[in-house]
Every structure is written in structure tokens, then in C-alpha cells.
């Protein structure tokens, strides 16, 4: 592998990992703070991609689709929390898994009724459609670079929100002692709603950003969900920064696995997960 193909693969790995992080961050936050295992989280990624498809068709531009899609995803997230997930906080994990698995089926059926079962594509914005030439034959698509930049921005924003704002302090405090937070006059239910909606928005944004480079298709949430769970477990359940490191690790394992050991590409990710868990059963940044 020469230096430029190595560079291309590295950029691909980072971009893929960062996209996974968008989905996994919400999964790990909702699990770490509210204690909910949400199998339907991949559906929010799918919903994002379909929102991108529908809204890009309507407005003619992916950027408009994102501007409209984010508040829509937030509203959907808040409504789902208020109507369904709020009832799961005190239930055991089996009940959570059953309800959220049922939700996947409902979401897929809704998608089928609303948009049908065809595979769709979403055009990328014109100004991001070019590529950067690296040598005579290799070039790197500007859009993929843009995804990475946006994801890094979102990761920094999430870091700032959780580590530097009062809302972030309340969120962290709420993951430790819900009663105490309430006794200080803070509405923990509202905090939970915000966290859930935030997780939905991050996953949906992942789907929106990915729409132009991967087809918008039925069941697209499934694969992402499984990989996101791998990321969450590798990073340490509940740890957002663990999820970031885990996502990048999985991004590299998957991308370079396909290049270096094409015959084993399918298992590379799981080998990495097994190796990490043998070394640190609680995950990279887990609390044990």
C-alpha cells in the first residue's frame, strides 16, 4: 500500500468511525443516564436517512433537509420519550428489549407504508460534490471530508455541552443520583427528555449525513445498531468519550480489515471487540 492509498483508507476509517460515533453516542448516553437499552436506536439513523431523502426531494438541497430535519428529529425524540420510553425507566432490561424490538418492527412497517420499500439515493450538495486529487489516479471525495469535519464539530459540541454547561452538570449528576438532583429543584424528567431527544438527533444526523454516500434502504438501521452496540461495549457503557475512541477503533478495524485481510473482513470488528473485552471487560473507559 503506498502512502496515498494509506491516506485514503485512513480518512475513510476516520469518517466511518465518526459517523458510528454519532449513533453510538446517543445509545451510550441513554443507557448510561437512564439505564435503557434501546434496540430501536438504529431506527433513528434510518429515520434520519429517510428524512434526508424526503426533505431533499422537497427542498432540492441536503442542507435544507438537515436544517428542517434536525428540529423534526428532536420533536420526534421528545414525543417518543414522553409517550413510550418514560414508562421504561423502572422496568428491567428484558422488558426494554422487548418493547424496543417491537418498535423496530413498527418503524419498518411505518417506513414501508409511508415511503415504500424501494432503495433511494440522495444527491449531495453541489459545492461538496468534487474530489481532491492526491496523485495521478487517487482522489478523495470532498463530501466524505466534510462529513468528518462536521462530526468532529459535533463531538466537540457534545463535549462542551456535557463538560462545560450547567445542563451537562445536571445530566452527569442525574446519572449518579436522580433523587438528589430533584431535591435540588431540578426537573429530572425534563433532563431525561432532553438527553433522549439529543440522542435521537445525533443518530438522525448520522443518517442524514450518510444518505448521499450509502443508499437509503429498508432495514438500514440494523447493521448500524449492531456496530453501535459494539462501539458502546468497547468504549465502556455510558462513556461518551469511550464511544468516540471505540467508534474510531471499529472504523479502523473495519476499513483496514477489508484492505489487509479481505477474507476476514466480516469478523475483524468482532475480533477487536473480543480483544478489548479480554483485556478490559468493562470497556476502554468503562467504570467496571
Amino acid at each position: 500500500m503506498d502512502i496515498f492509498s494509506f491516506l485514503v483508507q485512513t480518512l475513510n476509517a476516520v469518517q466511518y468511525g465518526l459517523l458510528l460515533f454519532l449513533v453510538a453516542s446517543g445509545l451510550t448516553l441513554v443507557f448510561g443516564i437512564m439505564g435503557i437499552i434501546n434496540l430501536a436506536h438504529g431506527s433513528f439513523y434510518m429515520a434520519g436517512a429517510y428524512l434526508a431523502f424526503g426533505l431533499t426531494s422537497a427542498t432540492g438541497n441536503l442542507l435544507w433537509a438537515i436544517v428542517l430535519g434536525v428540529p423534526l428529529a428532536m420533536a420526534i425524540g421528545a414525543a417518543l420519550e414522553a409517550l413510550l420510553f418514560v414508562h421504561l425507566y423502572k422496568r428491567d432490561h428484558l422488558e426494554q428489549v422487548l418493547l424496543t424490538y417491537g418498535l423496530i418492527l413498527i418503524f419498518e412497517e411505518l417506513r414501508s407504508i409511508l415511503v415504500g420499500d424501494d432503495v433511494h439515493g440522495v444527491p449531495m450538495p453541489d459545492f461538496l460534490a468534487g474530489s481532491i486529487p492526491l496523485d495521478d489516479t487517487l482522489s478523495y471525495p470532498v463530501y466524505r471530508l466534510a462529513i468528518s469535519v462536521v462530526c468532529v464539530g459535533l463531538a466537540i459540541g457534545l463535549y462542551f455541552l456535557i463538560q462545560r454547561t450547567r445542563l451537562g452538570m445536571m445530566i452527569r449528576a442525574g446519572s449518579h443520583d436522580r433523587d438528589m438532583v430533584q431535591s435540588l429543584g431540578i426537573n429530572i424528567k425534563l433532563i431525561y427528555r432532553v438527553v433522549f431527544a439529543l440522542g435521537v438527533v445525533m443518530a438522525a444526523l448520522g443518517g442524514m449525513l450518510a444518505a448521499p454516500i450509502s443508499s437509503v434502504a429498508p432495514n438500514m438501521g440494523g447493521q448500524v445498531l449492531i456496530l453501535s452496540f459494539v462501539v458502546v461495549v468497547v468504549g465502556g457503557i455510558g462513556s461518551v468519550w469511550g464511544a468516540l475512541i471505540g467508534a474510531l477503533l471499529i472504523g479502523f478495524a473495519d476499513t483496514f480489515g477489508k484492505v489487509i485481510l479481505p477474507d476476514f473482513a466480516g469478523v475483524m470488528v468482532y475480533l477487536v471487540m473480543a480483544a478489548v473485552l479480554l483485556w478490559r471487560p468493562e470497556g476502554l473507559l468503562g467504570k467496571g
Binding site: 450547567r166 452538570m169 445536571m170 452527569r172 449528576a173 446519572s175 449518579h176 443520583d177 433523587d179 438528589m180 430533584q182 431535591s183 435540588l184 429543584g185 431540578i186 426537573n187 429530572i188 424528567k189
Partner: protein
């Protein structure tokens, strides 16, 4: 005393009954504390002091009775709504957030009081608890027991409450540190904030409170002036001695 008797009620409970599952813990408790009043709540272990406080805070559901905060019925209301009517609760075991720094523990709680008062600012808490100002960057879990207690009291004050409830604030602290806590409680009381103090040390509690209440098996067996309580050692022997 007579001065306090005429003040407005802050927190009043009437006929509270609370159960944990099938066990009946509170048997019709009447409780009240007025603006600026200092109340000592006493009773042996397991008599229901913590349960009474948690019932009034909405942290456990009282099956029967009423809880009024500043004249408004709050039984069944959310805990945060009750706290927002001017009550700060420092629980048994302190309730520090170990995953937040000392500074964050304080900042996350900051708000104006019910009447918009902002007497307690971060700076004033630092002046009151100089030891905390040296440990602002530490995690809440890294503090000693005494420092943690100062942190929870400081955090409660950041909400600018009208009433501060301290449940076993000196539990497990060395006598010297406990004395420091009592000094601070006295200072808080003098600043006009009403206090409810639960503690094993009846001498200390009755010396800094206006009124004393004793709970036995979920019932109020004594409710009188702390002066009167001090003059009746048989109360201690009968209801509080071990």
C-alpha cells in the same frame, strides 16, 4: 418564642401516613415549621425521621394526609416542584455527586430563591466554607467526610432556600469537624433561614433550635419549646436513650 409563633407557616404536614410496602411507618404525623424557625427532629434509629422528611419532599409517596408548602397543597407533587418552593434538603449520606468537581456540585444547584433573593452566591459559600475553596477542582468523591458535608450544605444554600433540612449532618464526623458543622448551622440560622435538624446529639440540637419534636414509631410523642425539652431530662431517657 412568641415572636416565632406569630410567623407564617413554611412547611406543614397533617396526618401523614406512609408505608414501605406492607410496613406502616408513619402513623398520622403532624409537623410544622415556620419562617425562620429552627426545629430539632429527634428519635431513636428507625423511628421514621428520614421517612417523614422524604414523605414531605415527595421522595416517597405518603398514602394519606396533607403536605403544605407556603400554604399550597403539595402532596403528590414532584420533588423538584416542592424544592422550588424554597426547601433545600441535605440527606443522610450527603448525596454528593462524585462524578462532578466540587465547583460543579455547587454551580449546578445555583438559583434564586422563591422571592428572587440571591443572598447565597458562589462567593458567599466560599467565604462560609473556606476549606472548599482550596478543593474546587477535586472530584466530589475525593473529599473527606467533613468536607463532603460542607459541600452538601453549601450546595443546598446555593438554591437560596427559606428552609434547610439537615438529616444526620454530623453522622460519622470527628468531634472537631462536627463542632465546625454546628457553628455553620448556627450561622445559617442567624441569617434567617429556617432549619430542621435531625441529629443524635440532642444537647447540640436543642441548644441551637427553638422547638423540639420527638418521633417514636412513626408518631409524634413530644412537640415543644427546646427550652422546655432541656428542662425535662426524662424525655431523653424515655424516648432517646439507648
Amino acid at each position: 418564642m412568641s415572636d416565632i409563633a406569630m410567623r407564617e407557616d413554611l412547611l406543614v404536614a397533617r396526618g401523614l401516613h406512609t408505608y414501605y410496602g406492607a410496613s406502616h411507618i408513619l402513623h398520622g404525623v403532624d409537623f410544622s415549621v415556620k419562617k425562620g424557625e429552627a426545629l430539632g427532629l429527634m428519635g431513636r434509629n428507625g423511628m421514621g425521621k428520614t421517612t417523614l422528611i422524604r414523605s414531605m419532599m415527595g421522595l416517597v409517596r405518603a398514602a394519606e394526609g396533607s403536605v403544605q408548602v407556603r400554604g399550597q397543597e403539595m402532596r403528590g407533587a414532584a420533588t423538584h416542584a416542592i424544592a422550588r418552593r424554597g426547601i433545600a434538603y441535605v440527606p443522610e449520606g450527603r448525596g454528593i455527586f462524585p462524578n462532578l468537581s466540587v465547583r460543579e456540585n455547587l454551580e449546578m444547584a445555583a438559583r434564586a430563591g422563591v422571592d428572587g433573593q440571591r443572598n447565597w452566591t458562589f462567593e458567599r459559600v466560599m467565604e462560609t466554607f473556606p476549606r472548599l475553596s482550596e478543593r474546587l477542582g477535586n472530584g466530589g468523591g475525593q473529599l473527606s467526610g467533613g468536607e463532603q458535608q460542607m459541600l452538601t450544605i453549601g450546595r443546598a444554600l446555593m438554591t437560596n432556600p427559606d428552609l434547610l433540612i439537615l438529616d444526620e449532618a454530623t453522622e460519622g464526623l470527628a468531634p472537631l469537624i462536627a463542632r465546625e458543622i454546628w457553628r455553620i448551622v448556627r450561622e445559617i440560622r442567624l441569617s434567617g433561614i429556617a432549619t430542621v435538624v435531625v441529629d443524635k446529639n440532642h444537647a447540640a440540637v436543642s441548644s441551637i433550635t427553638d422547638r423540639t419534636m420527638i418521633l417514636v414509631k412513626g408518631q409524634v410523642v413530644y412537640d415543644g419549646a427546646s427550652e422546655d425539652f432541656r428542662a425535662r431530662p426524662e424525655l431523653i431517657q424515655q424516648h432517646l436513650g439507648v
